[in-house]
Amino acid sequence: MHSESQRAPWLLKLATAAVIVFLHFPAVIIILYAFTTDDRTFTFPPPGLTLQWFGVALQRSDMWEAFGLSLRVAVIATGAALILGTLAASAVHRSKFFGREAISFLVILPIALPGIVTGIALRSAMSLGNIPFSFLTIIIGHATFCVVTVYNNVIARYRRTGKSQVEASMDLGATSFQTFRFVVLPNIATALLAGGMLAFALSFDEVIVTTFTAGQQMTLPIWIFSQLTRPRQRPVTNVVAVFVLLITFIPIIIAHRLTQDTSAE
């Protein structure tokens, strides 16, 4: 590594530290405000600290309904992303076919285009086909942008492991299904877990696409957004925001660990 030989200029270190603090400052602030005693404004410093809003938040049924919906959507969208992402990655890895390059592009497209494009496109299709809003329409929206996380992780793993193990397994008489179950799956397990975690985190707090595909249904992020315009017990929103923060942070840290371990091998 070349990096050990040189020391960074202090100004560069300072700038880096400042940007990293900037990136994480809002998370710290929202945690602080979950404990504030002030329920009308956003006064800083908070006039006092209390735990009462955690109790109040846990008793809000509208919050729980939204939480339940978000959880169901995230779990099913992640499941769909795991299956579809693995299938697409396997196809691209094992064979050469016309339009192979286009597959990677197509998988990335829903996340590279602004969310509003995906949202209004699905909304247009529903309007044209007279399809009513439903749980399924939310899932379809989320699945389109979740596939990429699984696809990217699995295809990266495939590239690292190569094809020799699969060929050896088949040479030794295993069927394709046995090869997948006993050779391929153990190899890509952590990649699947990492991709799935990212998909879950993406889905759980997605709000833009969901706005166009949910109709009257309320996911947790939509619930938070609606609280911005019609606030009722502001600190409760802060508490829920902290929940969402934790629920999405933890899978990402796990996913990061997983990909880190395997690349260090």
Binding site: S3, V19, F42, A125, L172, F182, I208, T248
Partner: protein, 316 residues
């Protein structure tokens, strides 16, 4: 891996699964079809199909008298799109996207440079996680948090008051076009939050581009007599530029289509995303919403073709 194969149960040679496996093995095209079919159904048929219905919808129009969408080809909606009021929205959004992109590249470069050149392996892992966390998680929560930070009674105002320099903040807020009653309801606030939100998307590709600049090239430049500053401006920066362009694709594109940030921190002047939301929702003018969405698609296609020429896709 060798140990896992020992779990494979012995199978009679003519089991159903073995025959199916052999059947498939002899027909690679069928395997390909089975593998690609489901993802293509979602992304190729449903997703791309929806994009096409978006285009189709933009050529329909809303009948002003009945309030019904007329499903026949017309350019009426596009005529409505290019009225001065809507053009102003487009112009406002595109200039915001440009300003945010410039600010992000300026903020991201030092971090990426430190990550790629100076950080130890451990520090690098930590820094990557610190950048990835806000990229993947809780977008809405962090935008919401900015509402608290920038509020009139929030921490930023407190900071300015604490140091007795609230005059600076007040002066900023009285500026025409970017000011407002407080940071949490001003274009300046929107700019800060947009810059904050897309910053990780800019840091990662620049760091990736910088990692790929070979140390030998830097050393060669020094050996040939260039001072570190000259090497930086003439060698490192041009080689890292594709990374900046790659990052700008995200910051630009995501700003064009966002309605949460201006919706949370803005005043009454709309951004493109908000216009789309309002037209498809309350006013029921889905064709106009669709036509509005065609703008970011076209802008991004132009942007992408330019970015491709600058080599941005090698840096992704």
């Amino acid at each position: 891996m060798a140990t896992t194969t020992s779990h494979v149960p012995a199978q009679p040679p003519d089991s159903f699964w073995r025959r199916l496996s052999t059947f498939l093995y002899q027909r690679p095209w069928l395997i390909l079809l089975l593998l690609l079919g489901p993802p293509l159904l979602l992304l190729g048929v449903v997703y791309l199909g929806s994009l096409i219905t978006l285009l189709i919808n933009s050529f329909f129009y809303l009948d002003g008298f009945t309030g019904q969408i007329v499903r026949s080809f017309s350019l009426r909606t596009y005529a409505e799109l290019f009225t001065p009021a809507n053009l102003e929205i487009i112009q406002r959004t595109v200039s915001m996207a440009a300003a945010v992109t410039i600010a992000d590249s300026l903020l991201a470069f030092p971090v990426a440079y430190f990550m790629a050149r100076f950080a130890s392996t451990r520090a690098k892992t930590g820094l990557y996680l610190a950048v990835l966390l806000p990229l993947w998680s809780s977008y809405l929560v962090r935008v919401y948090s900015w509402k608290l930070i920038l509020a009139q009674e929030g921490i930023v105002s407190w900071f300015f008051h604490f140091f007795g320099i609230q005059g600076v903040l007040d002066a900023l807020l009285t500026l025409p076009r970017i000011g407002g009653t407080s940071l949490s309801v001003s274009p300046l606030g929107i700019f800060i939050v947009f810059t904050y939100t897309w910053l990780p998307y800019m840091i990662l590709p620049i760091a990736a581009a910088l990692e790929r600049v070979p140390q030998s090239v830097i050393e060669a430049s020094g050996d040939l007599g260039a001072r570190p500053g000259t090497t930086f401006w003439r060698i490192t920066l041009p080689l890292a530029f594709p990374g900046v362009v790659a990052g700008s694709i995200f910051s630009f594109s995501l700003t064009l289509g966002d309605f949460i940030i201006p919706g949370t921190l803005g005043n009454s002047s709309y951004y493109l995303g908000q216009a789309v939301l309002a037209h498809q929702g309350t006013s029921g003018n889905l064709p106009l919403a669709a036509a509005f969405t065609v703008i970011p698609i076209v802008v991004m296609l132009l942007y992408l073709s330019g970015a491709k020429r600058l080599g941005a896709f090698d840096a992704l």
